[in-house]
Amino acid sequence: MADNATYSPEVTFIPAGTPPHRARTSAAPAVLPLALGVPVVAWQALFFAAPLVFLIVITFWQVKSFRLEPAFVLDNWSRILGSGTFHSALIHTLVVASTTTVLALLLAFPAAYTIALRLPIRLRDLAVAMLVVPVFSSYMLRIYAWQIVLSPEGMTNSALQWLGVGPLPLLGGGFSLQIGLLTLTLPIAVLIITFALSGVDPTLIEAAENMGYRRSRVIAHVLVPSVRPALTLAATTTFLLAFGDYVSPLFMTGSRPPTLSILIVDTVKSGSQWPRASVIGVAMLVVLAGVFGLGRWFVSRGMKR
């Protein structure tokens, strides 16, 4: 089982490019792969790929008397890319997502370090299981809960008042926004780094310790470099989630100032300016692709050294 990662079992007995059992399937060699593959491709094409392609197409369309009409105009692009609202929302969203990324990595690494290298295996498995749950459940509800906790008449302020401290404006600023975005991103960041750190060869750490390295140097010179791809993955994932999130900006700051996601939803739900909303969406995807490209470049540069 251990060397599963080093070879792929199928390669060892199926020569690439040839059917594995020509004799038996010679009558209709491609029936099974087609029967399995066509529904998958069709489904993903219709409900995923086509909508995204259409999103790009309608950025060139026009809205005439509240109806979307095919055209080829660059007006939507020039309007959005030239608009001050878009610029400030873009910068705001970039700053917010970058802040979340830095915070998430700083907060996640020590926790992942302890979970992966300090906790006994049973507790480690429990911690991982508890981290997986919030990734797949009830994000919106948890943001609502933070709203209750942080609001002016909410729990924290009632408790503070009881202690004689005046109500603090906890909700509606960068602080509450980061609380919300960390609620979304921190479990995933911790999980990714925990998996990577548990995979680090213990003899590597021992060797460094035997050479008299202190803990801080072991972390800086052995652990961090060997989990560099995972740190990059955690960073890009965190950025992606924070950059595209709609719920935290909506409930933690009341959409002020708006992020790009807020701008999209407002443009779609309030008016019929589909093409312009699509321009914002495509611009966001370009930014995210850039961030992923940057991440890949960063990892490959680290591999070469």
């Binding site: 059992h21 099974l32 491709v41 302890t114 797949f136 909410g154 921190l186 595209g244």
Partner: protein
């Protein structure tokens, strides 16, 4: 001596940090549950006393019941179709080498990486154009496009552990590829199939952006909550939230029971 106490201090700090992390993660869920039983209209301290009033109220709220039924239907459909598509995609990737293989895998794997706001808008624009807007089936179909990614990942991991000789033995014994698939591969993948069933249901049960965009008048439970949240303070929200929390956490935990997610190694395991 000094080194020892320093080490102890450092360990204490490390464990405290992990504990703080879990408090941060669990606190919002506990707030929802605790205050759903609060007699006060607005959730605050001090607690207004125990009450089942809001839990009772949601059972008389027809919109909530409708939304719950929609969510259940969409979730169940998503679970079935994601698992089927996820299995097909994982098996193709495991079994055959072909040109465009990485594009094929990406087509299934990548949807969760696209922000739901953008994907929701794109789906709404395209699907309303082809006349699929505003149906429960459409919400389900869109959820499948996302959840199949997780199903494929789980099942592909399990397939990686299938001994290469097992399927081959079945062929040598005269089984057709289809028979070998159904008699050997599918039973071997059973825990992963069950896990992806429940995880896909959880993904669908939690998704609101796409459901909100493409559902039209058909609200799922998260969409109902979103609409309630944008209105006035409503003490029913905590009660609905408690129900949703219990269901979605259960789904994820059941999924995890069938696929042991363990740091260091990830293995699909048969539960005892």
């Amino acid at each position: 001596m000094k080194r020892d106490s320093l080490t102890r201090l450092s360990r204490t700090l490390q464990y405290t940090w992990v504990l703080a992390l879990f408090v941060f993660i669990a606190a919002p869920m506990l707030v929802i549950i605790v205050f759903s039983f609060d007699a006060n209209r607005f959730p605050t301290i001090p607690w207004g006393g125990f009450s089942l009033e809001w839990h009772r109220a949601i059972f008389n709220d027809e919109m909530v019941i409708d939304a719950f039924v929609n969510s259940a239907v969409v979730g169940l459909g998503t679970a079935v179709f994601s698992t089927l598509l996820g299995f097909a995609a994982a098996y193709i990737d495991y079994r055959w080498r072909f040109r465009g293989q990485s594009s094929f895998v990406l087509l299934v794997a990548i949807p969760p990486a696209v922000p739901a706001t953008i994907l929701g808008m794109a789906m709404l624009a395209f699907l309303s154009r082809v006349g699929l807007f505003g149906r429960t089936e459409t919400i389900m179909a869109c959820h499948v496009a996302i959840a199949a990614s997780f199903a494929m990942a789980i099942i592909r991991l399990r397939l990686g552990e299938l001994g290469a000789d097992l399927e081959q033995a079945a062929w040598n014994l005269g089984a057709s590829p289809f028979t070998a698939l159904m008699r050997v591969v599918v039973p071997f993948c059973k825990p992963a199939l069950i896990a992806s069933f429940f995880l896909s249901a959880a993904v669908s049960f939690d998704e609101f952006m796409i459901a909100w965009f493409v559902g039209g008048v058909h609200e799922t439970l998260p969409v109902r909550i979103l609409n309630l949240l944008q209105g006035q303070v409503n003490p029913k929200i905590n009660a609905i939230g408690t129900v949703v929390l219990v269901i979605s956490i259960t789904l994820v935990l059941v999924a995890q029971r069938f696929v042991g997610v363990k740091a260091g190694r990830t293995a699909a395991t048969e539960p005892p």
